[in-house]
Symmetry: C2
Subunit: 202 residues, 2 copies
Amino acid sequence: MRISELSRASGVPTATIKFYLREGLLHSGQLTSATQAQYDQSHITRLRLIRALVGPARLSLATAKAVLDAVDRPPESPLELLGRASVALAGRSGVPEDAAARELVDQLGWQIESGTPALADLAAALQAIDEAQLQLIDGGVRRYAELIHQVAVDELSTVPTDTPESAVRQAVLGTVLIEPLLTALRRLALQDAAGRRFGPGR
Amino acid sequence: MRISELSRASGVPTATIKFYLREGLLHSGQLTSATQAQYDQSHITRLRLIRALVGPARLSLATAKAVLDAVDRPPESPLELLGRASVALAGRSGVPEDAAARELVDQLGWQIESGTPALADLAAALQAIDEAQLQLIDGGVRRYAELIHQVAVDELSTVPTDTPESAVRQAVLGTVLIEPLLTALRRLALQDAAGRRFGPGR
């Protein structure tokens, strides 16, 4: 199909498609003349993915590109999958990983290499909670960690091992797309729980 | 103490403190002359809070101001606490809440008013997962929702009811500061689970 048809089929404006092509987020079509190219289903699929990343997952264009690069490159080892997603998404918190974050993961028995970006994110999050003197739930950070770990093990079991490409895709997108889901669910759950605790008639 | 001492005590540069004063994020000190003011412990506490919000929680200055306004204003009813936090933090996903999101919260038995910003965020997150054709864990979105709701009920029980101010503070900051914690923990948990599943010797 031509670019105008790709635009109709995907719901993405032609100018935006051209922009994604220029930025290397979308692969080129098959050239049929100096100024025309043919696009196919793979372009529609990719456009959906780009929209999901820059839309709900709210990634910047640069981060979306890093994530897409991770999806495109087959990994040298399966263990690298999540390392790549993690690096592509790394926070720029500016807080170095610290003793408190390391101690926590060690206590939990999690095997985390030093230099993992999320370890610095954890340090920053713990520091903010500490500085704001926020009162935590019983069991504190460990309680959150144990719940999250349960789900992580199940999530990993959804990662297919048939081809490296599909494995990377699932691992990277799982990391990116489940985060906004959890945030939205948590705010709604708090709202519901608040209604039950403080609402009229309670 | 003078502004230079406040800077030393809080670790925030004087120019930044002046900026927060101008923007109304930090309350003024007690004027002792036309050009000098005295600051106290309340300023140190507030600066810590501002740094936590614009640092690890990665809020924009405008959003941080909205959150601080929510912390400062006593609520008319306890149920408004989380509504305010939720509105201050509302995503600008541009996706209207839709039938799928509404159906999900109804199925879960959560009481969520129409127009709640997180409902639109949920719609956007579900749509992205759908468009990317991401494979979910067994039990799907409901499994995430039920785990999250368990914790939400406990989190609400940490909200003090002695004064409206402390209630708002805990509710709003709990919403903002726990999110980066959960994201960091989830990435680390995935990393650990990936090591166990794919690591050397497995």
